[in-house]
């Protein structure tokens, strides 16, 4: 119905998505948990929880803490490992018929390459999202975004191993996000996604203890939306490249703001925790917004901010 009123299809680099509304890595598990709350088949795409080669236990708890209009998490890439993901998680997702984007994380360039090579062989994936921005691991993670040449090399190594479209997930914990986006594109990625979480911390003053066992965590939610929007806008202005925008998107109008700032698609993250139907609701609200504004195809919003 909504598809009749507004053309939601978007082209994000080589990726053709039925709608610009994706769900962000790590906030939607491997999809199954939200099946009873959201029509998974109507999603623009699902970005999986980060996958590593070996299973990872993740960090000790407490792993989440609420802050003002935001939350901290220090999950630490807990996941059952590549083999189990391929055997047990991806079949369900691929069966859905929506674009499935697997988020991959490693400690070394070789690990990223292996992940890309193995996942490149899985039938039916839409793209890989190269997570070089996790703030919650001791090795790898966002450190890769702080060394431009290493980042370029990493993406190139992944590029060598697979024909799948590559999305590089950028860290906001950098002085300037543009060179990292550039390095990702130079390395052979077609799309950048941003932002991952910002390094943050909360303290229990009475017990004189950090609230998270990992001490610091990643900040997400409405609190970071202005930061995310500014970064999307900077990258769009500088590079005009395909961007998947995220960071505090809770409403259709939030999604529209990211598109206007230059994103070709967006992802809903923390919002799903607050309202499990968010991914679907935001999509419907975006359709309403477009109808109200006389926007016939959502593609015309991208980068159309007037400054």
């Amino acid at each position: 119905m909504s598809a009749e009123r507004v053309d939601l299809r978007v082209q994000v680099g080589p990726l053709e998505l039925p709608s610009p509304l994706l769900v962000a890595s790590g906030t939607f598990g491997f999809g199954q948990e939200y099946a009873q709350y959201v029509d998974l088949g109507a999603l623009g795409g699902i970005m999986t929880k980060a996958v590593t080669i070996a299973p990872r236990e993740g960090n000790p708890g407490p792993r989440v803490w609420e802050t003002s209009a935001g939350m901290l998490n220090s999950i630490g890439l807990q996941n059952p490992g590549l083999d189990t993901v391929i055997a047990e998680k991806l079949p369900f997702l691929i069966e859905l018929g929506v674009p499935i984007i697997v988020n991959i994380a490693g400690e070394t360039i070789a690990e990223y390459a292996t992940l890309a090579q193995r996942l490149g062989e899985v039938e039916g994936l839409a793209a890989l999202e190269v997570n070089v921005s996790c703030p919650n691991v001791d090795r790898g993670g966002m450190e890769f975004c702080r060394e431009i040449p290493v980042l370029r090399e990493l993406v190139a190594a992944v590029r060598d191993e697979t024909e799948l479209p590559l999305i590089v997930k950028l860290s906001p914990n950098v002085g300037d996000v543009v060179p990292t986006a550039e390095a990702a594109l130079e390395g052979g990625a077609e799309v950048v996604s941003m932002i991952n979480t910002l390094v943050g911390m909360a303290i229990d003053a009475v017990r004189r203890r950090p609230r998270l066992a990992h001490v610091t965590g990643g900040l997400s939610g409405p609190a970071v939306k202005p930061i995310a929007l500014a970064m999307v806008w900077r990258v769009w202005r500088a590079l005009q490249c395909p961007v998947i925008g995220m960071g505090g998107i809770f409403t259709g109008e939030d999604a529209a703001e990211f598109l206007l700032a230059g994103a070709s698609a967006v992802a809903v993250g923390t919002a799903s925790f607050v309202d499990p139907t968010s991914a679907q609701r935001v999509r419907e609200e975006l359709v309403e917004f477009c109808c109200g504004q006389g926007v016939e195809t959502v593609r015309e919003l991208t980068g159309s901010l007037r400054v």
């Binding site: 598990g29 709350y37 929880k49 000790p60 708890g61 609420e66 939350m71 999950i75 807990q78 923390t270």
Partner: protein, 264 residues
């Protein structure tokens, strides 16, 4: 669909810090099992942001009413305490894994610490109605008398009922687990069900392990999603690794968990 808008039917302040809320639900009351929880959105704005988990205290499937006991500890619970009848509340639930089927033999001991009494009241009620042959012995412990909210609800649903307070203001002076130790010795116990502070649960787990009695604990942990997707709510598992309180629990067999790490 475990997501609905419930209505606050009434909200009664039962101590300075405890509020008993009755919610009118379409689905949750009919589906809830003892030990499960609902995940409640406490306000319409982005602050507070996340939902708050609350144990189901009891339900009336006929009228669709579902009760929760709220101990005010911070902003979210304060907002809940201030809800007026008629207010609408966005809830998810029932969620999680509740108390398992009781063993056919032996006394069933329920150990409640403070606001941990809520899921045990529901459990005692179901034991009474669905397992009429069971013998339920309940122990309610708290720092002082003022923290024994809803004790009558638990007492009324138990065959025996004992109280311990740390300052001796009600019942025995001491801890709930001190009484647990006594009854584990004296009775033939089929299983122990405990909910309360982590230290209490650890002590109960230890005592039960020593007495070779199955022990079940309802755990708490800060939560993101409440449905198993974010991996935020973990506690350490006995064999290494972690389990999620929201979907693997909140009720665990005590020997599923790593108590050494838990009480650090």
């Amino acid at each position: 669909m475990a997501h609905e808008t419930a209505e606050v039917v009434w909200n009664e302040s039962i101590t300075q810090w405890h509020y008993l809320l009755a919610l009118k639900t379409k689905h949750a009351a009919a589906a809830a099992q003892p030990g499960q929880f609902i995940h409640v959105r406490v306000g319409p704005t982005h602050d507070p942001l996340l939902r708050r988990p609350l144990s189901v205290l009891r339900t009336d499937p006929g009228t669709g009413q579902l009760w929760v006991l709220v101990r005010v500890v911070g902003r979210g619970t304060r907002l809940l305490a201030e809800m007026e009848p008629g207010a609408r509340l966005d809830i998810m639930g029932p969620l999680g894994r509740g108390w398992p089927e009781p063993p056919p033999q032996g006394d069933l001991i329920l150990v409640a610490g403070g606001v941990g009494v809520a899921p045990l009241i529901f459990w005692a009620e179901v034991l009474q109605s669905s397992y009429p042959a069971s013998h339920v012995l309940s122990i309610f412990g708290a720092a002082h008398e003022g923290e024994l909210a809803c004790w009558l609800e638990l007492a009324a649903r138990s065959d025996e009922f004992y109280v311990a307070t740390e300052d001796g203001s009600a019942g025995e002076k001491g801890l709930a687990v001190d009484l647990l130790r006594v009854y584990l010795d004296q009775r033939r116990v089929g299983a122990v069900y405990a909910c309360g502070p982590r230290g209490m649960l650890a002590a109960a787990a230890r005592l039960c392990a020593r007495a070779s009695v199955p022990c079940y604990v309802a755990m708490e942990q800060w939560m993101g999603c409440g449905i198993g997707a974010c991996l935020g709510c973990v506690v350490p598992a006995a064999g290494g690794g972690y389990v999620r309180v929201c979907t693997d629990g909140p009720v665990f067999r005590a020997d599923e968990l790593d108590w050494e790490v838990l009480v650090q």
